[in-house]
Structure formats: structure tokens, C-alpha cells
Symmetry: C2
Subunit: 99 residues, 2 copies
């Protein structure tokens, strides 16, 4: 596992303009990737707030897009990863019970 007890990485506090600066993506692109369910900012009075984790995710997305991967495919890879992680979780729970 990467880093989970990172106290700042997951707090949604960054507005879209700054995210745009950090990632090099346009606000339009960032909003579109949300529409395609690749990222999930929170809202503070209607205004989108992102975490550093979101910023890193967006940079990964940007890389894949440059390689020609469609948002649809990125989305699919994502759900696949989640599925695998859930399986692992199941297995861990299983072995835990058995031991």
C-alpha cells in the first residue's frame, strides 16, 4: 500500500484554478474528467475542491490521454483495479479468519 496515514494528501481543499496550474490541464478538461467519473471533487458552496491525491490522479489521466487512451478506457481500468482490491481484501479477511 502506498501512503494512507498521510494527513494532507486526501483533504479536498484546492480550487480548480490551482489544480489547473499544478497539472497543466485546463479547467474545462478537469471538469470533463469529472463528468466522465474519473475524479470526484467535493463542493464547498458549489465550488469544486480537490485533494493532492486528485491532482496526482489527474496527472496520471493526462499521461494516459496523451497515449491516446480514451476516458472510457481509463474509467474501465479504474473499476478493474477496484475489483481486484476488493478480492484481495476478501482474501485477507479469509486468511485472517482461518489463522
Amino acid at each position: 500500500m502506498a501512503q494512507k496515514n498521510d494527513p494532507y494528501k486526501f483533504k479536498k481543499v484546492i480550487s480548480i484554478g490551482i489544480v489547473s496550474e499544478l497539472t497543466g490541464l485546463s479547467p474545462r478538461q478537469i471538469r470533463y474528467y469529472e463528468e466522465r467519473k474519473l475524479i470526484f471533487p467535493e463542493r464547498s458552496k458549489g465550488i469544486r475542491k480537490y485533494s493532492f491525491a486528485d491532482v496526482e490522479r489527474l496527472m496520471e489521466i493526462a499521461d494516459k490521454r496523451e497515449e491516446g487512451v480514451t476516458t472510457r478506457e481509463i474509467r474501465n481500468e479504474m473499476t478493474k483495479e477496484v475489483r481486484e482490491k476488493m478480492l484481495k481484501g476478501q482474501m485477507n479477511a479469509h486468511f485472517h479468519f482461518r489463522s
Copy 2:
């Protein structure tokens, strides 16, 4: 030393409204503490940007203010700490040379 290789703690990316929510301080108070040189946000097109370190610092300031410590005194404690750290740095460098 606390945490120095924290990749997110020191990036100035949070706007004053969010800092206000995180700390419970009013924007007015936050700007005033800057005027008194207790914090040093960066600016992105005139708009203040704070780091998580700044947020923590502001919470310390808030605690001291509640105890009745003046901004002047907080400022003095600060410069004193810096002075001590510089001394330590000197000593470390010194011993380093000698060993």
C-alpha cells in the same frame, strides 16, 4: 525534527476561505496575522494561498491568542525560535567539521 520530506504540507495552494473553515478563524483575523508577520502566504494573481503548515501554524496562533498572548509576543517567540535553530545549525556544522 518533525516532517520535512512531506510532499504536500508546504505547498501553498489553499485559499483564505478554506483556511478560514479549517481553522475557525475569520478571513479578517487571518489577514491581520499576516500584517503582523506571523504567517506568510504566497499570492497567485493577488489572491493569497496557504499551505497545510500555515493552517497548523494558524491553529497554534489561535490557541495562544485565546490564552491572551498578543501578536507581538507570538512574533517574538517566533524570532527567538529561529535564533535557537540557527545556533543549533551552527553547532552541528561545527561538530561536523571537527569529526
